[in-house]
């Protein structure tokens, strides 16, 4: 369902029938943690919001038990912008606890299913938002992307998922995971709807000093040049390989030029990410101490109160990352891990700047495989590898979009297109052309 479809089908008279349908059908998918129970006073387009984003007066848990009864006293900037521009929040979507995971199975509440196949994961961490759009419950939803948390579930669920440049959208009111990576982005059924929502939520916000206004240069309509990193298909599944190659063939017919560009060291990029993110996590999650808000386990000793609260209400992955981050930032180890990782982060940023001197976009698969089985019980490292193509762009804060490939197979495959920093508008403009050419929409 696109924005246009919604407007054609629903109005003030039948809006609560629509809500009842969503509620009924979501019993199979479990994409919503919270759904409003009356829409009769709402006007505009419904949007589903990842539970990582604060909504005034509506419980916002970030998928964690520690925030089970947290009701934000204010809206995130993105929510205010949406509500002032013809959208209304229909509900909050399920996610991996504090956005840490790639399957939404790390949610402290329940598991969300992939609407394309109920035995598969929807991806994560924004799995609920991806599933809600894929299932046709809403035309659009918001997610957050720290290492691939929008693009990977978009790929698994067969929808468009866009992660903007770092800073393009205000993070004010977005529950923090890793602040130099976190970015709000959009799920939709096509690029046009993605752009419509992005145009509403983007822009500089005084409440987020890292936010910025994007320059509005146009790309020339012709002569699009796309770089493919060498050996990018090494180790990816057969189905992804075929979908990728078919996409290249289709785009070539449309006179898009392809060149091979050097690849960044993916294994190394993943290592950098899994040092820097836990480091930032250990600092950001230190606020959940049972004192100011969220759950508390009482003790007559304050340190014990902190420890008992965190032990009881934080899940395994937040604990694991808090410990790793405390370790990588500790005296004696921060030179070995944190500082080295930052040197490499700068090198990845420089690598991309160099590549984008000669190409408009870089194209890669979004994920190495299609959606995996629910309960596959991956080890942490195996789970981290699901994000191998989406993580490198985050080291440089680049905009990237996952677009469903045209595939004969039942399971969707996403293709990722990456642009230079702050080139979001050009990326979306070319993406519309790509989508048209692939006839996936």
């Amino acid at each position: 369902m696109t924005i246009n479809d919604f407007e054609k089908k629903y109005n003030k008279e039948n809006i609560n029938e629509y809500l009842a349908q969503v509620e009924e059908q979501d019993k199979k998918i479990n994409s919503f943690l919270y759904l409003k129970n009356d829409l009769s006073k709402e006007t505009g387009i419904p949007i589903a919001i990842k539970d990582m984003i604060s909504t005034k007066g509506v419980v916002s848990t970030a998928g964690s038990k520690i925030l089970e009864n947290y009701i934000p006293p204010y809206n995130a900037t993105v929510i205010n912008k949406l509500e002032n521009n013809g959208y209304f929040v229909i509900g909050k979507t399920n996610m991996d606890e504090f956005a840490m995971g790639s399957s939404t199975e790390n949610s402290a509440y329940f598991t969300t299913k992939n609407p394309k196949d109920l035995t598969l994961v929807p991806g994560g961490s924004s799995g609920g938002s991806a599933a809600a759009v894929s299932a046709g419950f809403v035309p659009i939803s918001l997610g957050t992307d720290t290492g691939g948390s929008i693009r990977q579930p978009a790929s698994f669920c067969g929808v468009v998922g866009f992660c903007p440049s770092y800073g393009a959208v205000s993070r004010y009111g977005v529950i923090a995971m890793a602040s130099s990576f976190d970015q709000v982005g959009v799920f939709a059924n096509n690029v046009k709807d993605t752009k419509a929502v992005f145009d509403v939520i983007r822009g500089k916000d005084e409440k987020d000093a890292t936010s910025l206004d994007l320059p509005s240069e146009k790309v020339s309509g012709s002569n699009i040049k796309i770089g493919i990193p060498e050996n990018i298909l090494e180790g990816v599944s057969e189905q992804v390989k075929v979908a990728f190659e078919n996409t290249v063939t289709s785009l070539k017919k449309d006179k898009i030029e392809f060149v091979v560009v050097p690849n960044t060291n993916l294994q190394q990029a993943l290592a950098v990410y899994y040092i820097l993110v836990p480091s930032e996590v250990s600092s950001n999650l230190a606020r959940y101490d049972g004192v100011k808000y969220g759950k508390r386990e009482e003790s007559n000793d304050l340190i014990k109160l902190y420890t008992k609260t965190r032990t009881k209400y934080l899940g395994s992955e937040p604990k694991r990352r808090s410990i790793i981050g405390t370790y990588t930032l500790s005296a004696g180890y921060s030179d070995k891990y944190y500082k080295k990782a930052n040197i490499l982060r700068q090198q990845v940023k420089d690598y991309y700047s160099k590549i984008f001197e000669s190409v408009d976009l870089i194209m890669t698969p979004t994920t190495p495989t299609t959606a995996f089985k629910l309960g596959a019980m991956l080890t942490p490292i195996e789970m981290y590898l699901a994000d191998i193509f989406t993580i490198p762009t985050k080291l440089a804060g680049l905009p990237a979009i996952s677009i469903p490939a045209n595939t004969d197979d039942k399971l969707p495959v996403g293709i990722q297109f990456i642009a230079g920093h702050k080139k979001d508008l050009q990326l979306l403009q070319i993406s519309e052309k790509i989508e048209k050419c692939l006839q996936t929409y």
Binding site: N69, Y70, I71, P73, Y166, G167, S180, F181, E206, T210, L212, Q268, L270, A271, V272, Y274, I275, A286, D289, G290, V291, K292, Y293, G294, K295, R296, S299, N300, D301, L302, L305, T307, K308, R310, T311, L314, S316, K319, R320, S322, I323, I324, G325, T326, Y327, K336, Y337, K339, K340, A341, N342, I343, R345, Q346, Q347, K349, T379, I381, A396, G397
Partner: protein, 90 residues
């Protein structure tokens, strides 16, 4: 990483991992093994990495209304009058 370092680090992170110590140790060791490749990094960083590339962000120093303490304290696990309540720290 070994048991002693793990216990000490978990203590600093304010989480108790006694019940799953073996599992945590195994997982953390494999993660740290994986990220070891960063030690191949050459070169120096003379300043922090700046991802948004914003420089010197200023705003006017004007008084704005803020959230009421009544609203904010609704989320406190325990509150009394205008204060959050906690065990004595002295």
């Amino acid at each position: 990483m070994n048991n002693e370092v793990l216990i000490n680090t978990a203590k600093l992170a304010r989480v108790d991992i006694i019940e799953n110590q073996e599992k945590f140790l195994k997982e953390l060791e494999s993660i740290l093994d994986y990220v070891e490749v960063v030690n191949n990094a050459n070169g120096n960083l003379d300043k922090d990495v700046n991802i948004s590339e914003n420089q010197n962000v200023f705003k006017e120093d004007v008084v704005e209304s803020s959230l009421s303490s009544k609203d904010v304290l609704k989320n406190a696990p325990k509150a009394k009058d205008d204060y959050i309540e906690i065990e004595g720290i002295f």
